[in-house]
Symmetry: C2
Subunit: 249 residues, 2 copies
Amino acid sequence: MVFFAIFDQNGLNDLNAPNASNVFNDRTERYKAMIKADTPKSENITWHHSIVTKEDRERLLGQKGVTLWFTGLPQSGKSTLAIEVEKRLFEMGHITYILDGDNIRHGLNKNLGFSPEDREENIRRIGEVANLFRQAGIINMTAFISPYRADRQNARALAKEGEFIEIFCKCSLEVCENRDTKGLYKKARAGEIPEYTGISAPYEEPENPELTVETDQLTVEDGATKIISYLEKNGMIRKIEQISKSPSS
Amino acid sequence: MVFFAIFDQNGLNDLNAPNASNVFNDRTERYKAMIKADTPKSENITWHHSIVTKEDRERLLGQKGVTLWFTGLPQSGKSTLAIEVEKRLFEMGHITYILDGDNIRHGLNKNLGFSPEDREENIRRIGEVANLFRQAGIINMTAFISPYRADRQNARALAKEGEFIEIFCKCSLEVCENRDTKGLYKKARAGEIPEYTGISAPYEEPENPELTVETDQLTVEDGATKIISYLEKNGMIRKIEQISKSPSS
């Protein structure tokens, strides 16, 4: 039962207590004991009682299963920022996954186009997949324009309080248009792409995002730091100083 | 560079070498060093070079991102077996996730019915989500009847060789029908449910599944052991004896 004293339901902060650092060194034994403590002795018990929960996985991984929902104009830096955050979290030993156009539009959502209904269904499915990743205990990030408040609200509604972190990549249209690495703004201005967000289709700015990153003013590194500090402050990842003070470093 | 010597691309077996066990105790430092070794010194390098890969995540987790695709008649024990495997893998410190009717039919696929097209789309989406979880390095399990060979083949086609493990839950219709915990076979026999697999709709048995578990002959525990042994033998999880020989046990 000693493990429950250390790793209670809200126990991520406890992971950062000075005396807990050595416990990190023994994942397997820790969780063996945890499961034993959690499993009633009766042999008549059905398997339903030993289902592995989101909280179990979070304790195993030392992180919370949350969604970082990046939203913003095309070229506002959503993917760039997500990739930087992922790299930094991985360096800290955290498990993350990014859902973006590359892995979603060519896979799960390859049967969707760009009609209003299909755009809505696109974001709906992404919200559902993000929820599955949350349940799995993975810090997941979605990097899609997701221009409509209602669609983002629907994705948020699937999450528990605090587990959906909307990150507004705030960047002036001028800067986004100047970046235009794929030449899509130019095509949109020429009328070759209809309903291009920012040019011929609306972008509804978040009203109360958990975080705003001014990507036309901050470096990618500083933007990522802002996000990681938020995760740390809210007990979603291990504290940074704890890691650098690890006994084996 | 010492870390690459120990954790190469096919390095899971090396994790089980006697001298490697202590390395497990220091995830954070190990991966800090790994990333440093992987990052070119040039400051002009773009962030694309430091994208976290499936292989990176697999090294961090000490497991392979694979799919266990359970298939079989209704009541053949797919979910029961998956839950037992999950429990056992968690005890060993592995991260898994089960996709099943509960979390898929009420979420991602709640806009699908039971027409032939919708059934196909149901399995297609599940195959795509399983692929995302593989990329994330998670051992994922799907527990759906998935009665058609073609649909299962499509899901398999998204995976690399060896990363899609089809598990046939083989159980006589008689035994399945006797279990009938939800009373659905009875309703199907009474004609109240049209196109019920095994009664009024076909089930196409796998021709070359990676594993067959005779769920009308084995206990749940023995069935799970068969699956876990397969994963161990194929270097997808840490070796069981290594865990029990962990220096801190």
